[in-house]
Symmetry: C2
């Protein structure tokens, strides 16, 4: 299948390109190069050194024997998108080309406006490009489990059947996102649902959990093929940050009580699920807009830090686990039970071996502990949801 990956230069994007090539797909990609800029703006860099795009493309061609269609450009630029659609003629699009960071969107007004404009308008352009140039294509759109917030009830996949004052209807499940970034994804979901309704586009809207891990074992043999791994407060996700803290013998820092529960999944599961979604588009007669919740398992953050600390101990490291002030405004004690049946129905095999993933990850990162050590101050949060900027202090 000809699959276009907007955001191909990112953490998931570059790994996904390889995963799909390995499965025999013809891969194309676009990227504005923003992720490298954002992380630089945070005073950080990828823990794992990554090649520039030309070197990545050369390595990709050597390994899979296919020339990856690639162009640098911005999804808010309509002329660019049009050109890409005409040249590459995608049969499917896996849209990862957005700013993925809650803290980055909470820095200040300018960042809030930039993230929302970039994400919403890029996605709206994507929907128009499909409508006008590829109406038969299937869009796999990356959203986040964070769109739902933490309601005091089970979280279905996108829709639920409810009764109110004696009348029943199937309604979109209410979204209660907790940052400007998460809200941008809610806005995308709403816009995308409308496009599916008025134009009949086929979309799988993915509510993804928090991804962790450095790579898919056995795939990235060549260093030029390594994907990035961020650890700064804005672009480093929980487990990835813990692992980077562990390899430099810094305490693993939990925000607040650490009782927040979220769905997590290793990188390999993310790629497996995205491939399942794109290879199984909605069929004739099925809903043309569908929502998949995508995570391996729900954990609370204390559990995760414990698992990282234990895997680190196995490698002779001995990190502390410490609590710091939560810079976010979020519930720390809450019910959390989201569904994730749709992907299981398509054949998703959850990895269920976090221990092995963490070992692989820590081993990879140990090689680069010097790179992390040099900018380690980026690991601690300074961006606060109340609009102020100061470093969180330890609670214990």
């Amino acid at each position: 299948m000809r699959i276009l990956i907007p955001g191909i230069d990112g953490y998931l994007g570059w790994a996904l390109a390889q995963y799909l090539a390995e499965r025999g797909h013809q891969v194309g990609g676009v990227d504005a190069g923003f992720r490298r800029q954002w992380v630089q703006e945070m005073g950080s860099r990828s823990a794992i050194p990554i090649a520039e795009m030309p070197a990545r493309l050369a390595a990709f061609e050597e390994r899979w024997g296919q020339r990856l269609f690639y162009q640098q450009g911005d999804l808010t630029d309509w002329d660019f998108i049009q050109r890409i659609f005409k040249e590459f003629r995608p049969e499917a699009i896996i849209h990862l080309g957005q700013c993925p960071s809650a803290p980055y969107s909470m820095i200040d007004r300018q960042h809030a406006v930039w993230v929302q404009t970039n994400n919403i308008m890029g996605n709206l352009n994507m929907l128009y490009a499909m409508h006008e140039l590829a109406p038969e294509a299937h869009l796999v759109k990356l959203g986040t489990m964070g769109e739902y917030g933490t309601p005091a009830m089970d979280i279905p996949e996108g829709f639920f059947e409810v009764e109110f004052r004696g009348k029943k209807d199937r309604l979109p499940f209410p979204r209660q996102a907790g940052s400007w970034y998460h809200q941008s994804k809610v806005h995308d979901s709403n816009n995308t649902m409308l496009a599916c309704k008025i134009w009949g586009l086929r979309v799988t809207d993915i509510m993804q959990g928090v991804v962790y891990g450095t790579r898919v074992d056995g795939l990235e043999s060549d260093e030029r093929l390594f994907t990035r791994l961020d650890f700064d407060e804005a672009f480093g996700t929980a487990i990835n940050r813990f692992a980077c803290q562990a390899v430099i013998a810094a305490p693993l820092t939990l925000y607040g009580s650490g009782h927040q529960k979220r769905g997590f999944l290793p990188l390999r599961d993310s790629l497996q699920c995205l491939a399942l979604a794109v290879e199984n588009p909605p069929l004739e007669g099925e809903d043309n807009y569908r929502v998949f919740n995508m995570f391996e398992e729900v954990y609370n953050v204390v559990e995760l830090a414990g698992k990282v600390a234990s895997a680190a101990a196995g490698l002779g490291l001995n990190p502390q686990v410490r609590h710091i002030e939560n810079p976010r405004l979020e519930m720390e004690e809450h019910y959390y039970r989201p569904d994730r049946q749709h992907l299981l129905d398509l054949g998703y095999q959850p990895t269920h071996d976090m221990e092995a993933e963490l070992r692989l990850m820590l081993t990879d990162l140990l090689r680069y502990s010097g790179r992390i050590e040099e900018v380690k101050e980026v690991l601690l949060p300074r961006i606060r949801w109340d609009g102020s900027r100061r470093q969180s202090t330890y609670l214990d």
Copy 2:
């Protein structure tokens, strides 16, 4: 109270400024002048001739003895908003400064992106301005009943208590908006709810029905004080269009079956409700984000056309009522029972005399039938929800 009205040059804005001055408030306003441009772009103009802003301001000062604080500018311009907040120091803001047209947003990609960028980013700037410069102010934000769509159950005011798999929670009522414009208002509601949660802002989010009418009798004595009245397919709302058709003896055109039900309210009720909302901000201990559904009564469009035709007959006019292809994608046969209790609780007295409103309106418009006649082709819809552009044909 010092009340800022972004969008003061618009249909509601200019009438509201007068209504609030009459009630003793100190009024300020900003406007980018977009409404005049949009209507011009549609090849139309206000049926009622309106004065330029300087003449409006002069007449306002003569009538109410207060100099209205006014500056021209765009809400997506942060420097402008900051300056306004610092100079006028609003105690309340009634935010009408957005593009209010579903068809305008559906013209093409460029209009969709423009409307969403303008509305969402203007509102986000407004929230930041409140947070940084007027955290005690009360925002009355104009949304639309169209945010809810037409679910097969009662529509509560913003939130509902539901049970799902044995667990109960109070959740935002799901929004199913049917145009890029309506979606922009959903995105605003979601962003606004978040701002209230993280910053404690006080907001009344108004889900307004379809407004009709030329003026509040007795208020606009001076022609320079008249507010605009649009009748083109994008900026003319249902009853206003029917009234303009009636005075030029053109058929009143119903989209499809005309069985669509909506909440409607006369201009006088809109002003009464906005004043009630702004004069009764959420109190200490009450929810700081609240939603008011705002309409006088639910009607279907066939009923409305009948009422306009009957009021027109009373003035010696004899318009036909005809059905044309519905350019929109919307349900025409549907359940519709939204609440509107919050405003009644604050003392809202619904006018309940549509006949009188229509008579006043038709009498006003008869003076300007020549202005409508000259551009009457703008009354018929060409902007279709499927993305094509062609004039709807008559179904009868």
